[in-house]
Symmetry: C2
Subunit: 459 residues, 2 copies
């Protein structure tokens, strides 16, 4: 009896099998992630300090590194039921095309209008803001997936949503902007005249097309200077890892249903929201000594925070208004060269994943973008899904691992996270189709320049 007779192409959990709690991997970590520091006092941020910027319930989640499980509120569960469970797909066609004995599965998070896994945390953060009686939330968006997800969540809950979108994306990705507007969000190109920091940057750099760092600063200023608003963030933070654990919990439940144990789990990593969520429950088993898995974080060679960065306290934003976080980083002043995976261009990495990586509990590789689009195009034609450039980093390494199995004859089980679709990335695909895509790898000197800007708080 072959796998095809036993295991369907797509494993869907029943509604009643969906996770009812999020899992907080920090509870099982021997070495806890280092705390966020107040940039002025260099002391750990208190709940009071954080609650000026973030919602109260989210501050609690951010600071709690001992509670293993958090109940998912019923309202969020109901929202999840509209687009979850996401399918765990057996890549039969890809296996056959590669001629590999490996068994390949992917958790596909792209089947919702935001186009990615970002919605899992957006609805949670919007819910807690609503519960606190706030009027609205502010955020920044680069590529636009997080902004779209937050707009959807806010529209559903009747919450005001103010998005600062990096100006060059605002102009180059008008479709993303229109999706957010359709969901009722107020989308402002950043830098803008609406904030003090925006006006300052415009005065100093007329004609600038903006940056994520600047957009963060504007969103934070907007939230802290308007009654009834808080700032929300789509990656990096530990609360985001917590919400995204729903990806891993569903994946594990689907695998358990068919008694499948993965050998390798692969995810792309920018700020870490997808990878952290996907591996969470598996990492928990590894931390508790129950099982072993090989985890692989995949990052772009143009922005290699894990593979070539330093483990140090750093600013989370270029405006340096946010708390300091200890993480693998290239320095908040590091400007990654052009790369079409906008979601992977962050200079740092989640503190949780940074600590796990430093403890050698997971590995990381970096890949160049042309090879990523080679893999993406192959995958699209064989599996029928046009992947996001970010997600395609994981596809590339999953294929590499499957081809290694072909050489050795090993029947390893590989699971990877397919975080989203590439429908709003066709400019990048166009460049690839035209043979006009280039690879960039920062020199050691460029990295040193980034490290030189690290704050001097490392003990």
């Amino acid at each position: 009896m072959t796998d095809k007779n036993k295991i369907p192409y797509k494993i869907y959990l029943e509604e009643q099998e969906m996770p009812k709690q999020w899992y907080n991997v920090r509870a099982d970590m021997k070495h806890k992630p280092a705390p966020l520091l107040n940039p002025d006092t260099l002391q750990p941020m208190t709940a009071e300090e954080l609650s000026g910027v973030f919602c109260e319930e989210l501050v609690k989640q951010e600071l709690d590194d001992t509670t293993a499980y958090f109940d998912i509120p019923k309202e969020i569960l109901d929202f999840y039921k509209m687009y979850r469970p996401s399918p765990l797909v057996r890549a039969y066609c890809l296996e056959e095309a590669l001629g590999t004995p490996a068994k390949i599965y992917y958790k596909f998070e792209g089947n919702n209008t935001s186009g990615s896994h970002k919605l899992n945390s957006a609805i949670a953060q919007a819910y807690y803001a609503k519960k606190q009686g706030l009027k609205g939330v502010t955020t920044e968006t680069g590529a636009g997936q997080w902004g779209t997800a937050l707009s959807m969540a806010c529209a559903y809950l009747g919450l005001d949503c103010r998005v600062y979108m990096v100006k060059c994306s605002y102009e180059q990705k008008p479709f993303r902007r229109e999706v957010m507007r359709t969901y009722g969000a107020n989308v402002t190109p950043s830098p803008s005249e609406l904030t003090r920091v925006g006006r300052k940057i415009l005065a100093e750099h007329p004609g600038t097309t903006g940056s994520l760092g600047c957009a963060i600063s504007e969103a934070v200023e907007d939230a802290t200077s308007h009654e009834g608003y808080r700032y929300v963030l789509g990656s990096v933070l530990s609360q985001v890892m917590l919400h995204q654990s729903v990806i891993g919990l569903e994946t594990k439940a689907a695998l358990d249903k068919y008694n499948i144990t993965p050998d390798i789990i692969i995810g792309c990593a920018g700020g870490g929201s997808n990878l952290g969520g996907l591996i969470a429950p598996f990492m928990g088993e590894k931390l508790r000594g129950e099982k072993d898995y090989r985890f692989i974080a995949v990052e772009p060679a143009s922005c290699p925070s894990l593979t070539r960065g330093r483990y140090a306290y750093d600013y989370c934003d270029t405006g340096m208004v946010c708390p300091l976080a200890k993480m693998y980083t290239l320095g908040s002043g590091f400007i990654p060269s052009a790369n079409h995976a906008g979601g992977l261009r962050y200079h740092g990495m989640s503190s949780v994943l940074s600590q796990l990586y430093d403890d050698k509990l997971m590995t990381a590789v970096s890949v160049e973008q042309t090879s990523v689009f080679d893999a993406a195009t192959k995958f699209a034609r064989i599996e029928g899904i046009l992947p996001a450039p970010e997600s395609s980093h994981a596809i590339k390494v999953a294929i590499d691992e499957a081809m290694r199995c072909k050489e050795t004859g090993e029947t390893k089980t590989i699971v990877f996270g397919l975080t989203g679709t590439g429908y709003f990335d066709m400019v990048a695909y166009g460049k690839y189709n035209d043979g006009d895509m280039h690879d960039y790898v920062p020199t050691d000197a460029e990295l040193e320049a980034g490290f030189a800007g690290l704050p001097n708080v490392n003990l």
Copy 2:
């Protein structure tokens, strides 16, 4: 016990519950659809005549109005498993937001990279071409969903795919074009220099931005003048209705699983591929006198072939190279005014649906596009899916029917087809968001001008 405890938000069939056969509604029709006519002889087209343009197996399906069920070949079933079954969604959130006692379900066909139901027939047509040993297929595309679907199917089977894309879409929808290119399709803006008919049109109308009629003529000429190629079409034909019956069969199986009997079934109608597929098995029950349902076809007020057209033989294309079909039509020379639902801008309607409509077995309504986008935006915010403008015609009428139930207190069960997503229609949404959308309704005189061009073959 409320419905929410019994019926999940999304009903997914198990893989083994998926339909293994397509259903041919013509087998149960007392009045068969009129045959296709040879435009030169005005005699019914023979299999031999048709097989110069279409694949042999598809010609058989086209001409067979007595066989009720056709086995779906294993290769197509395997492809279906990659993106089907599609979910039947219970619109709990929409019901709540409307405050209606009606129970609303929608069959969502947008969760695949082509973004619509078109893939169901594209894979079937490509498969039969491959089986016949052909090198490739040609087609035309307007909005681009059919071209995308066919590109995906051809990439999967290793078949050459040549798409003639209406020039204005080619230029205004570069993303759609890039998706097709990513799937390896050869996409040519029409009219082109590649065909005799294209060169003729370019000579007569330099600077023309093309039309669907011209693109059809180019695709047919390309297929018939190259060894090993055939032409394929994404709607109108009876073979397409047959393949699309998978939508209705899955819908019915999902409803049966929970003992749900719909009262009203609603679908948007351009050429009829979605509506015909969705209603097929239900219409079969009605034709056999087993059950009764109310079927509603929804068309744009700007292109009202059922509600204001004539039931007559007409040309299927403006180039008049295709067979004549008897259908509800506005005349092949009718140019619908600008409407953002490109997939609903066809002058005619499937012969099968035309006959059913003429026999009063289904009803039809027309709606204006601003009201359609009102409904689309409401739906997006409440149900979390950004719908295609075409699909939103069905949403509009489903909401109207649900509000009627609110007035009368009736707890009717409404099922509608959500054919696709609007991710490549953000220009239209942008116009709506900017308050810059207009409605157009053809005058009686404009319709008369269209009817004047009908061929004189009506007995």
